[in-house]
């Protein structure tokens, strides 16, 4: 409501400034045949009702502030403090058609809806003139009923839109917040793997290997293989390890066997070497470096 009222004020202010020239120009432009502004009850009306007068330039702006014929009608009704449920249809129709006539006179292209509404109003008016039987259903027979319903419904949403507009809103009243996250370390999430998948994969590998190549897959006790890995891993940090240190007492005899097999296998694969600085001296194990290799 407020912005509409403001708009109207500015239109009127503009009107005062331009009354003289604006008015005469419009007449000149239209040439000799000054069409009546409106036909009221068949009587041509060459002058607009005073309360309706808006200079042509402003009129276009004015009309743009309406969201269609229902909005324009509501404006006409509300500003005269009339009741929607009992619209003085003749007056309102006259005023509405006056606007429409002005529009076409000014060659302002009107949306078809405005013309349709003019027709509806004219039709209601003519039905109002017909004698109506006094019946209990009179209320519902009121030719205005459908228009009233539409006006009421439109007005509800028009107000709802205005109230929506004043709700505190993001980017205008309140603002979403965010802080920088570059200091946050994002953990990498890895896919889950089921051990069975690994086994199935290996089974496939073996089958393929058998079929495709003559590669012989030797079986070695995994524990020996594992021990080989752990010894190598240890030798990466400790470049020289006393031979006995590679055996763990708590592992018992079997553990010792595994370690020994692993050391021997590593030696055979030339991954480590076992050295003795002096006869009967301590046995030492060290990784075989490129430089140390033959």
């Amino acid at each position: 409501m407020t912005d509409l009222a403001e708009c109207e004020n500015s239109v009127v202010a503009g009107a005062e400034r331009e009354t003289q020239q604006g008015g005469s120009q419009a007449v000149g432009a239209e040439g000799v045949t000054i069409a009546p502004v409106a036909l009221v009850n068949g009587t041509p009306l060459t002058e607009l009702p005073e309360d309706l007068y808006i200079p042509p330039d402003a009129l276009e702006v004015f009309l743009e502030t309406f969201e269609g014929p229902l909005d324009l009608l509501l404006y006409l009704i509300r500003r005269q403090n009339l009741s929607i449920v009992d619209i003085p249809i003749a007056d309102i129709t006259r005023q509405y058609i006056a606007y429409i006539e002005m529009m076409s006179e000014l060659r302002i292209e009107l949306a078809a809806e405005y013309l349709l509404m003019a027709a509806i109003l004219a039709e209601i008016k003519s039905r109002m003139l017909l004698p109506r039987p006094a019946s209990p259903e009179q209320q519902e027979d009121d030719p205005r009923a459908e228009l009233v319903r539409r006006l009421q419904e439109y007005e509800r949403y028009k107000h709802a839109a205005q109230r929506l507009d004043v709700l505190p809103r993001c980017e205008r009243d309140v603002f979403e917040t965010s802080a920088d996250t570059s200091a946050i370390q994002v953990r990498k999430v890895y896919p889950e793997v089921d051990l069975k998948e690994v086994l199935l994969a290996f089974q496939d590998v073996l089958r393929r290997a058998e079929r495709l190549t003559h590669h012989r897959i030797q079986r070695e006790p995994l524990s020996v293989r594992e021990r080989m890995s752990s010894i190598l891993a240890r030798l990466r940090t400790q470049l020289l390890v006393p031979f006995p240190a590679l055996f763990e007492r708590k592992e018992g005899r079997h553990g010792a066997v595994v370690s020994l097999l692993a050391i021997l296998e590593l030696g055979k694969e030339r991954l480590i070497e076992i050295i003795q600085d002096e006869p009967l001296g301590e046995l030492l194990v060290r990784p075989l470096m490129a430089s140390g290799a033959d």
């Binding site: 949403y157 709802a160 205008r172």
Partner: protein, 193 residues
């Protein structure tokens, strides 16, 4: 680390509302707090914010920290374009969809008495405020439009129930002369102070 601080950190890091479920999922299963504990921490956080320029707000898709409306005179200068000014046609179309959903374009046109501009519908969709939720089983199977969670988030609402109530017919109101619009406006004032 305090639960309340973790929640604040997450809300600021996310830069969007986080639901209770999302807040729960910040934690590994074995350390996951009960929903009630998270609720309590949220209440604490809201209280902490009392003297700060941000407030904790629950909207449709969860909780968010937002800069209070009182700071908009300064903060809005950060945004060159002045968003948030919408035409009446835009707002009326949105209001009809919000209050009457699901609704077809034809129904909107019936209510407004004018054609609905395609660009308005497109803009509403691009903003993620409305979506097509189905098709009406009438000739032409027109799309049924409804609002989204983002619409509620943007307008600071938790659910459609929080929309200002649709007024009864104004003439009826005038008779009762009970200004029903009042509570809604008071409410808005509260939030902005």
């Amino acid at each position: 680390m305090e639960l309340k601080s973790i929640i604040e950190a997450a809300l600021l890091a996310a830069g969007r509302p986080l639901s209770l479920a999302e807040l729960e999922n910040l934690f590994a299963e074995h350390e996951r707090p009960e929903p009630a504990e998270i609720q309590a921490a949220l209440a604490d956080l809201a209280a902490d914010c009392r003297d700060r320029p941000v407030e904790l707000k629950q909207v449709a898709s969860g909780y968010r920290l937002q800069v209070r409306a009182a700071f908009s005179p300064w903060v809005s200068r950060l945004f060159e374009e002045r968003p948030g000014r919408y035409s009446r046609a835009f707002l009326e179309t949105l209001a009809i969809i919000a209050y009457r959903q699901p609704v077809t374009r034809g129904e909107i046109e019936d209510i407004r008495g004018v054609a609905v501009s395609s660009s308005i519908v497109r803009t509403l969709q691009e903003r993620g405020w409305i979506q097509v939720v189905g098709h009406k089983e009438v000739p032409g199977r027109p799309a049924l439009l409804a609002t989204t969670k983002q619409f509620l988030d943007y307008f600071n609402l938790r659910s459609l129930d929080e929309l200002p109530p649709l007024q009864e017919f104004l003439d009826d109101l005038a008779l009762e002369s009970a200004p029903k619009a009042q509570p809604m406006i008071e409410n808005a004032d509260h939030e902005s102070t």
